[in-house]
């Protein structure tokens, strides 16, 4: 048996050597360099109706960039289902793109890994300065007091989309301004298999976006001022319950929506199955599904009382996509140039029009295309009543934990089980205990 033991010892040694070398991971080229100045790899998130459409939108722009600078950009559009995993593995191994898109709510989480290039004053100067960007968009680029981990690229906000014809048939003359009005309106239009409002009950991120706005409207938050999770305060519980009650108690959301996670609620709206939808920048999406812009109206998301969009009533999160540079890029100069290009006025107008989002660059916003009634609502919301999701390192875990808790609450509601203050509180308590800091 001696040789066996020797072989085993050899195997273990080999593993340890490999393990040790694996530890080198991302640090090998930690600083970033300009070793390959002629190429860049760009991971874009999926913004259009499909990945192929995204390629058609982006490729001509990348060609333009190549003509200007001689730098060839290799584009990969990464589906949302894979994006965070791909970023994580890229972070772990140091083997990633040079420039990438991140969901702006992930900014602080990814910032904590230290893999992204910090945008200090010097870096900002290279792309025309921090002042070019709208404040609300900058508020979602990393933890407060630290240099942003990314630069805003597309901005979006939630709005209430409503079906004009269904409203007219039900005798509703104007979009609801408060939740009570929304419930009343929803009840009026709910008949013959049609429902008032659509929701994505199984989509953790959507749940978080809405729950956070409700929490803000109740004067609550999910995190304390110093970034500790705090999910179980009375106001927070009431906020989450109010959202789930739209299905459980008010019955304006169809129970079937509890299992939606793939934008089925948008399809339902486009097909006239639901009369209202709370969505961010839905026009391009609705158009691709054959719903004409004349068929629906866009209004600010309702508030608890009064008129939305006035005073201090929050009615949307700051949604959007940020552009980040991997710290260990081997074409730092080119990456910066590319960020400058993508945030230039011209590109901002072209890209944001294509994706029906709002440019986070002030000078690009003035374009007439962003002054249409639908876009005006989004623009005003972003400027006045949108709030960034918590910029804490645990944001990603928060989305998972609380988003899943709400998904389970929707499942309860759909199955006809009672959703009570106690059951909401219990679900949130469980979510909070799963948080790393707890």
């Amino acid at each position: 048996m001696r040789s066996t033991r020797a072989a085993a010892a050899g195997a273990v040694t080999l593993s340890l050597v490999l393990a040790a070398s694996a530890c080198g991971g991302g640090s090998a080229t930690g600083g970033g360099s300009d070793d390959s100045p002629k190429t860049l790899t760009y991971w874009a998130s999926n913004q259009g109706a499909s990945i192929e459409i995204d390629k058609k939108v982006l490729q001509p722009e990348l060609d333009k960039f190549e003509k200007q600078t001689g730098i060839k950009v290799k584009l990969e559009v990464v589906p949302w289902s894979d994006l965070l995993n791909r970023i994580l593995t890229a972070t772990t191994s140091g083997q990633g793109p040079d420039v990438l898109n991140i969901g702006n709510t992930w900014s602080a989480s990814l910032q904590a890994t230290g893999a992204l290039l910090p945008w200090d004053a010097k870096n900002f100067d290279k792309i025309g300065g921090r002042d070019r960007f709208v404040d609300s968009a900058l508020g979602s680029t990393g933890a407060q007091g630290e240099d942003p981990a990314a630069v805003p690229l597309y901005s979006m906000a939630y709005a209430l989309y409503y079906n004009k014809k269904m409203f007219a048939e039900a005798g509703v003359s104007k979009p609801p301004a408060t939740w009570d009005e929304l419930v009343a309106t929803g009840k009026k239009v709910s008949k013959d298999g049609k429902w008032g409002l659509g929701a994505e009950g199984s989509n953790a991120s959507e749940n978080i976006h809405h729950a956070y706005v409700f929490a803000k409207q109740h004067g609550a938050d999910f995190f304390t001022a110093d970034g500790k999770p705090d999910f179980t305060g009375d106001a927070t519980v009431a906020a989450v319950k109010q959202y789930v009650d739209l299905m459980a108690k008010d019955k304006v959301i169809a129970p079937g929506n509890a299992e939606y996670a793939q934008n089925q609620s948008v399809s339902d709206f486009a097909k006239g199955k639901t009369a209202m939808l709370l969505w961010q920048s839905a026009s391009a999406n609705l158009k691709s599904q054959g719903m004409s812009e004349d068929d629906y109206g866009v209004a600010p998301v309702p508030v608890q009382s009064g008129t939305p969009g006035t005073g201090k009533q929050v009615n949307s999160m700051v949604a959007g996509i940020n552009l980040a540079v991997f710290k260990n890029t081997d074409n730092l100069d080119g990456a910066t140039k590319f960020v400058k290009f993508m945030t230039s006025d011209d590109e901002q107008k072209i890209l944001n029009k294509a994706y029906s989002s709002i440019p986070p660059v002030k000078t690009a916003q003035s374009d007439a295309a962003f002054a249409s009634p639908a876009n005006a609502v989004l623009k005003d919301t972003l400027a006045q009543s949108a709030v960034a999701l918590p910029q804490v390192a645990d944001e990603s875990q928060f989305e998972t934990a609380v988003g899943t808790a709400i998904k389970d609450l929707f499942a309860d509601a759909a199955a006809g089980r009672a959703v009570t203050t106690a059951s909401v509180k219990a679900a949130l308590e469980k979510a909070q205990q799963q948080m790393p800091a707890a």
Partner: protein, 329 residues
């Protein structure tokens, strides 16, 4: 009974292992010593590269505090000693409690799935032992679920299990009127049933295939002798077929158990990255602990615990079943 058990092993296999000794001596010393190792080398290297070394690294990771703050350069991640394990098995705290729940769900799911797969597969194989019209076609049909790529098969079930537009609710609710209102299959408690259905649908043909192969090894004379003794078909199945299948079952059940317990593809395609509590299988649970909450240290610790459990079960199972077989013969 003794003879029937022995009958399960094909006689050819019994060729004495000493028979090859003579010629091998003639091929020379180098071959005799080096050749087998040379032949094993590619397999050995690949196993080391893809299975064993990564596993060792995985075990190392389980002793580290590998959260998002350290993944970029995990050489610098602080050693966590046994913290990751303590968190995983502290069943009074939420993480451990969730792991225990997931573990129990997986055990229940695996037992039911393996049991049903075995039962259906064996029944089908036994019923199809005789030739009858359409047997060949039926056999081909039965193998289709196993041959289908997991993704294609499971996504079809997702389509069928939808609440509003799925076939399952259409049949159960609209056509048969068995439920007061359409049920949810992909969320809530029923998700366990949905998962079990898909798993059995996909897995039983494997049992069918193996048992069918095992049946070919049962000598016909046994049946003829039994028939002469006046045993009917049912008695033949009970007295000859099932006991003869014991050695086959020993391996089949173990393989099914391991594959089902570690199955990731089915729940992942069926439910996405967060499974409903009722169907929270351990593989997806660990995936979530690692990738969704970015805590690779705890995730690795859970994987190691899972591996230890499977090793233990396999060891005990093999000892028990082998002893059973030896006692029987």
């Amino acid at each position: 009974m003794t003879t029937t058990v022995e009958a399960g092993t094909p006689p050819v296999r019994k060729s004495p292992s000493g028979a090859a000794r003579g010629p091998r001596r003639r091929t020379g010393r180098i071959h005799r010593v080096g050749l087998p190792y040379l032949l094993l080398l590619p397999a050995l290297l690949l196993e080391l590269l893809v299975h064993l070394v990564p596993m060792v690294i995985g075990v190392v990771m389980s002793f580290k505090e590998l959260t998002q703050f350290y993944i970029r350069d995990w050489g610098t991640a602080p050693w966590a000693a046994l913290d990751n394990y303590k968190v995983s098995v502290d069943f009074d705290a939420p993480v451990g409690e969730a792991l225990l729940h997931s573990f129990l769900v997986t055990v229940a799911f695996t037992l039911l799935s393996v049991g049903l797969c075995w039962l259906i597969g064996t029944a089908a194989a036994v019923f199809m032992q005789d030739t009858f019209r359409g047997r060949g076609l039926l056999r081909a049909l039965f193998l289709v679920p196993y041959a289908l790529p997991v993704y294609a098969a499971v996504i079809t079930w997702v389509f069928m299990f939808q609440h509003d537009n799925g076939l399952v609710n259409h049949v159960l609710h609209d056509q048969l009127g068995l439920t007061d209102k359409p049920s949810f299959w992909l969320i809530g408690d029923n998700s366990f049933i949905a998962l079990l259905t898909v798993s059995v649908w996909k897995g039983w043909p494997f049992a069918f295939l193996i048992v069918m192969a095992g049946l070919q090894n049962i000598p016909r004379e046994l049946y003829e002798a039994a028939a002469l003794d006046g045993a009917g078909v049912w008695q033949q199945i009970r007295r000859i077929t099932l006991p003869s299948l014991r050695p086959v079952n020993q391996v089949l059940v173990l393989v099914l158990f391991l594959w089902t317990f570690n199955d990731f593809n089915t729940p992942y395609v069926l439910f996405g990255r967060t499974a409903p509590a009722a169907a929270d299988l351990i593989s997806v649970h660990i995936y979530q602990a690692s990738f969704v909450t970015w805590n690779f240290g705890t995730g690795s610790a859970m994987s190691v615990l899972l591996l230890l459990f499977l090793l233990l079960v396999t060891g005990v199972y093999l000892v028990l079943t082998s002893r059973g077989r030896r006692a029987a013969s």
